[in-house]
C-alpha cells in the first residue's frame, strides 16, 4: 500500500500552521507600527455558539465572533499572553521540539507573561487553536497522558533525528506509546482490515495475547479511558488515510458509551477543531443489552450515573435509535458492567465468543 498524499499528512499541516503564525505576527506588527492598538477576532467558544452540525456529525462553532483588543485594559494581559504563545509555538515548530501543557505554563515566566495557574494557560492555548484553526498538537504542544497502539502497521517518522526511519507497530507486544512521534508519522504499509479502539489497558493486553491482531487482522488502540486528542486524531487518520473501519469497545456504562461517542462525533470542548472525529466509527459494545444477553456480573447504577444518562438522552448526538435504545435499557435494568466482566466465563471468552459476534457490525458497515 502506498502512502496517500491527503491534506491530513504531516507536512501539509506543518505548512499551514507556520503560515497562520506568521500572519498573526504581521497583523499585530502592522497595527503597532501604525499607532493603533492591535486586536484579533476569532470564533466565540461560548456555550451559545456551540452547535451540532448534522452534516459533519460533530459539534462546531457557530458564526458568533469575539474580538480581543489590546486597547481594552481588561484584555491586554491575555492578549499579550496569546501573542507570546504564538511566538513560543513558532519556535517549537521551527526547532522541531515539543512541549507539554505544563512546560508552557512554566516557560511563560521567562517572558514576564506568567499565568495565574495551569487552567489559565490551558484556556489560552485553546484560544490559539481557534485563532490558528489548528489543534495544539500541530503547533507541538501535547498533554502528558498517553495511550498506545499495536498491530500490523509500518510507520515512517518525521520527527527530528528519525526522519525516514520506519517501525513495525507489532514489534513490541506491550504496545507502542502514542506520542508526538507517532502522531506525526506517515503510514507506510499495513495488511490490517479493521481498527479496534479499547478503553482499558488490561483488555488491550488480553487482545494482544489472544492474537486478535492476527486472527481478525486488526490494529489495536488502547485509548486509556477518554482518549487524548492525539489518539482521536490518529484514529481519524487510520480511517481517512487507510480506509479502515473503526470499532470501539468500552465499559457498559454511560461513561464508556460516551468514549465511543466522542471518538465518533467529538466533544463540545473541541468544537473549534475539525480533524478529531471519525463519524463512521462503530460502537461495538459493551452495550446495556449485552449485560442482559450475556448475564454479566454488574453493579447498580449510582445517582451520578443516572443523572449522566439523562444528560446523554438530551444530547443531539444520541438521537440515533440504537444509541437511544441502549440508554433506555441502562435506565430500565439500572445496572452497569465493565469489559473485564466477561472474565467470569474465562479469560479468552471475550475474544473467542463475544468479539466475533460484534465484528459483524463492522462488516455490515
Amino acid at each position: 500500500m502506498n502512502k496517500p498524499r491527503s491534506k491530513t499528512t504531516a507536512e501539509a499541516r506543518k505548512d499551514k500552521v507556520e503560515k497562520a503564525l506568521s500572519s498573526l505576527g504581521d497583523k499585530v506588527y502592522q497595527d503597532l507600527d501604525s499607532g493603533r492598538f492591535p486586536s484579533v477576532t476569532f470564533a466565540s467558544r461560548s456555550v451559545r455558539n456551540i452547535v451540532y452540525d448534522r452534516k459533519l456529525e460533530q459539534f462546531i462553532l457557530g458564526s458568533a465572533q469575539v474580538k480581543r483588543a489590546a486597547g481594552n485594559i481588561k484584555h491586554i494581559r491575555p492578549f499579550t499572553q496569546l501573542l507570546w504563545l504564538a511566538y513560543f509555538s513558532n519556535k517549537l515548530v521551527h526547532e522541531k521540539r515539543t512541549s507539554t501543557l505544563r512546560d508552557v505554563y512554566y516557560s511563560a515566566q521567562a517572558f514576564d507573561v506568567e499565568f495565574m495557574d495551569q487552567a489559565e494557560s490551558d484556556e489560552l492555548i485553546t484560544d490559539l487553536e481557534v485563532l490558528l484553526e489548528s489543534a495544539r498538537e500541530e503547533f507541538n504542544v501535547f498533554p502528558e497522558e498517553r495511550s498506545a497502539i499495536f498491530g500490523n502497521l509500518t510507520v515512517e517518522y518525521t520527527v527530528r533525528g528519525y526522519e525516514g526511519k520506519t517501525l513495525d507497530l507489532s514489534s513490541h507486544p506491550d504496545g507502542m506509546m502514542i506520542g508526538p512521534a507517532l502522531t506525526t508519522a506517515e503510514f507506510k504499509d499495513t495488511d490490517a482490515d479493521i481498527v479496534i479502539a479499547i478503553e482499558k489497558g488490561g483488555l488491550f493486553t488480553r487482545f494482544i495475547e489472544e492474537k486478535v491482531h492476527e486472527r481478525y487482522k486488526a490494529i489495536l488502540v488502547n485509548t486509556a479511558g477518554q482518549p487524548p486528542r492525539s489518539t482521536r486524531f490518529l484514529l481519524r487518520r487510520l480511517h481517512e488515510e487507510l480506509k479502515l473501519p473503526i470499532g470501539i469497545l468500552c465499559d457498559a456504562d454511560p461513561w464508556g458509551a460516551h468514549i465511543a461517542m466522542v471518538i465518533k462525533s467529538g466533544s463540545a470542548g473541541a468544537a473549534h477543531l475539525r480533524d478529531l472525529t471519525t463519524p463512521s466509527g462503530v460502537w461495538l459494545g459493551v452495550w446495556a443489552s449485552d449485560i442482559v444477553k450475556y448475564k454479566l456480573p454488574s453493579d447498580p447504577l449510582t445517582e451520578i450515573d443516572i443523572k449522566r444518562l439523562y444528560e446523554l438522552k438530551a444530547d443531539p448526538r444520541y438521537k440515533d435509535k440504537m444509541w437511544h435504545g441502549e440508554l433506555d435499557t441502562f435506565l430500565k435494568i439500572k445496572k452497569k458492567s465493565e469489559q473485564e466482566a466477561f472474565s467470569r466465563y474465562g479469560l479468552s471468552y471475550i475474544v473467542d465468543k463475544y468479539l466475533p459476534e460484534k465484528l459483524q457490525l463492522l462488516k455490515s458497515y
Partner: protein
C-alpha cells in the same frame, strides 16, 4: 444581669424630662459573698441625673410587680414597663437582700428607701426610710444585690454599652466593671431626640382585655362618647357613629352595661372596620441623622458613613419608622459585614440571624449590584421605632418580618448603598488611571517584541507614541473612565473573570 433594664429606665426618665442624660453604672462583687467562683453575688448600682421619682410613688413603683399598665401609647424603651421591677425581684429571690432606692426631685432633699417585695401579697415591705441632703442633684440611684455570672456576661454587657453609645451620642455613659476597669462613652452632641408625644391607642390595636379595662375606668355614659372622646386615637363623632352601626351596637348604651359577648363583637369589628384614620407618627422618636452620625463618627471613626431616615408608616394599626446607618472602612471596622440592630433605641444583642434586618441584608440585597465586595469592612445599623415592636417571642431579641417593615428596611439599605457606591466609585477613579497606564507600559513592549519575531521583522514597531497618546486621553477622559472603572473596584481579578466568561 439587669443592667439593661435599669439603664433603659434611667435614659427614658432623663429624656422624657428633657435632660441630657448622665448615667453611671457600677458592678462590684458583693463583700458578703465568700466564694470566688461564678455565679456569685454582685452589687449593681445605676445612677442617673433624671427628674427623680416622687417619694410617695417609690414603694409602688419599685416594690410591686405589674404596677402601672399604661393605656396611652408612646414609644418607650421599657420592657412592658416591668423591666426594672423584674431586675429587683430577681435580685431579691437570688440573694434576699433589699433593694436601695435613692431619689431626689428637687435637688434639695433626697429620699432613701430600702425595700423588699412581699412576693405572696405582691406588695412592698419598707425596711428603712431616710431623708438626706441632695447636694443640688436630682435623679435616681438604684442599688441591688443579685446573683450572676459576670465572666460569661461581660462580652454582652460591653456590646450593650458600645451600641447604646452609637445611638445615644448625647448621653454620658460610665461603666465600672468588677475588676475596676472604667469604660466611658462621652457626650458628643447637645442635640436630643424629640420627646415622643403620648397618644391614645389606635382602635386596630385593642384586644378584649384592654377594652374591658377602658370600660372600667371611663366616665363616659354612652358608647358614642366613649368611642369619640378621650380613649381612641383619631376617632371623632362621625367615625364613632359609623363604627357603632357597623358593629351593631346601640349608640346610647352605657359602656358598663355591655355584655361579654358584645365586647367580643366590638373587638372583632375594630379589626375589620375600614374607615379608621391611619395612625399619626408624632408619637415616634427616631434617633435622627445628627445624633446617629455623631455616634458613628465617635465610636467607629469610619472612612465613609451615611444615614437614611424613612418616612413613618404603619403595620396592623401601629405606626413605625425605620432608620438605617451604613458605615464603611476606617480604624475600627474589620473586614466583613457587621449588623447593629436597634428597636426603640435599645440595642438587640441576641438571635441576630432570625431578625428581619439580618434577613434583608443577607438574603434580599444583592451587594454585587453596588460593587461592594463581601470582605469590605462594612457596618449596617438598623433602627426601628414603633409604639409596638413586633418581637417574635417573649425573649424580645429579634423582630418578625412584617412585610411593611421589611420593605422600609430594604428601601433604606438600598438608598444608603447607592450613596456608598458613588463614594467608592469616586475613590477608585484616580487610582484607576494610574493602574491603566502601568498596564499598557508593561504589555505594549512585549507585544512589540513577540510580533517582531513572529513576523520575521528586523526593527521593532513604533509603539511608544501610542503609549503617550493614551496617557493624555485617559487623564482628560477621567470622569468617563471613572464611571466605567468604578464598577470594578478590585481590578485585575474581575478583569480576568470577564475575560474567561467572554471567551469560554
Amino acid at each position: 444581669m439587669g443592667v439593661r433594664e435599669l439603664v433603659e429606665n434611667s435614659l427614658d426618665a432623663a429624656e422624657l424630662a428633657g435632660i441630657l442624660p448622665d448615667v453611671y453604672v457600677r458592678i462590684v462583687a458583693n463583700e458578703a459573698s465568700p466564694e470566688n467562683t461564678e455565679p456569685r453575688a454582685y452589687r449593681l448600682s445605676v445612677a442617673d441625673n433624671g427628674p427623680g421619682v416622687d417619694p410617695h410613688q417609690v414603694p409602688r413603683a419599685f416594690g410591686k410587680v405589674f404596677y402601672g399598665s399604661k393605656y396611652v401609647l408612646r414609644q418607650s424603651r421599657g420592657m412592658f414597663g416591668l423591666g426594672g421591677t423584674m431586675a429587683i425581684l430577681y435580685g431579691q429571690i437570688t440573694t434576699n437582700k433589699p433593694v436601695k432606692i435613692t431619689t431626689s426631685t428637687d435637688g434639695k432633699s433626697r429620699h432613701v428607701f430600702e425595700m423588699l417585695i412581699d412576693i405572696s401579697e405582691n406588695k412592698p415591705i419598707i425596711v428603712r426610710k431616710d431623708v438626706e441632703d441632695a447636694m443640688g442633684k436630682t435623679g435616681t440611684r438604684v442599688d441591688l444585690v443579685m446573683e450572676g455570672d459576670f465572666t460569661r456576661s461581660a462580652q454582652k454587657i460591653n456590646d450593650y454599652f458600645k451600641q447604646t453609645a452609637l445611638v445615644g451620642s448625647y448621653a454620658n455613659l460610665t461603666f465600672v466593671d468588677p475588676i475596676g476597669r472604667i469604660s466611658t462613652y462621652e457626650r458628643a452632641t447637645e442635640a436630643m431626640p424629640p420627646t415622643p408625644k403620648e397618644t391614645l391607642p389606635h382602635p386596630y390595636g385593642i384586644d378584649v382585655e384592654a377594652l374591658k379595662r377602658m370600660i372600667k375606668i371611663t366616665d363616659e355614659k354612652n358608647m358614642v362618647n366613649f368611642m369619640a372622646n378621650k380613649h381612641f386615637h383619631r376617632v371623632g363623632d362621625t367615625i364613632a357613629k359609623k363604627f357603632l352601626t357597623f358593629a351593631g351596637i346601640d349608640w346610647r348604651v352605657a359602656p358598663e352595661k355591655l355584655t361579654n359577648e358584645q365586647i367580643v363583637r366590638i373587638v372583632d369589628a375594630l379589626q375589620r372596620f375600614p374607615d379608621f384614620l391611619p395612625p399619626d407618627a408624632s408619637c415616634l422618636s427616631p434617633v435622627g441623622e445628627q445624633i446617629l452620625q455623631t455616634g458613628i463618627i465617635k465610636e467607629l471613626a469610619p472612612e465613609f458613613s451615611t444615614v437614611v431616615l424613612r418616612p413613618p408608616s404603619s403595620y396592623s394599626g401601629f405606626p413605625f419608622l425605620v432608620e438605617v446607618g451604613l458605615v464603611y472602612g476606617g480604624k475600627v471596622l474589620e473586614p466583613g459585614r457587621k449588623l447593629f440592630r436597634f428597636a426603640n433605641r435599645i440595642p438587640l444583642l441576641y438571635d441576630e440571624s432570625s431578625d428581619v434586618s439580618f434577613q434583608v441584608i443577607n438574603e434580599q440585597i444583592d451587594w454585587r449590584r453596588y460593587h461592594v465586595p463581601d470582605e469590605a469592612p462594612i457596618a449596617v445599623i438598623t433602627h426601628i421605632a414603633s409604639t409596638k415592636i413586633p418581637y417574635k417571642t417573649v425573649g424580645k431579641e429579634y423582630i418578625a418580618d412584617r412585610p411593611e417593615i421589611e420593605a422600609e428596611i430594604k428601601n433604606a439599605v438600598r438608598e444608603s448603598l447607592r450613596r456608598l457606591s458613588v463614594f467608592l466609585s469616586k475613590k477608585g477613579s484616580m487610582e484607576a488611571v494610574q493602574r491603566k497606564m502601568n498596564i499598557y507600559g508593561k504589555y505594549l513592549p512585549l507585544l512589540a517584541k513577540f510580533s517582531t519575531e513572529l513576523a520575521g521583522k528586523k526593527r521593532e514597531p513604533r509603539y511608544k507614541q501610542l503609549l503617550k497618546d493614551e496617557e493624555e486621553a485617559a487623564t482628560e477622559a477621567q470622569p468617563e473612565v471613572t464611571a466605567e472603572e468604578g464598577e470594578k473596584t478590585d481590578g485585575e481579578k474581575i478583569i480576568e473573570q470577564t475575560t474567561i466568561e467572554d471567551y469560554r
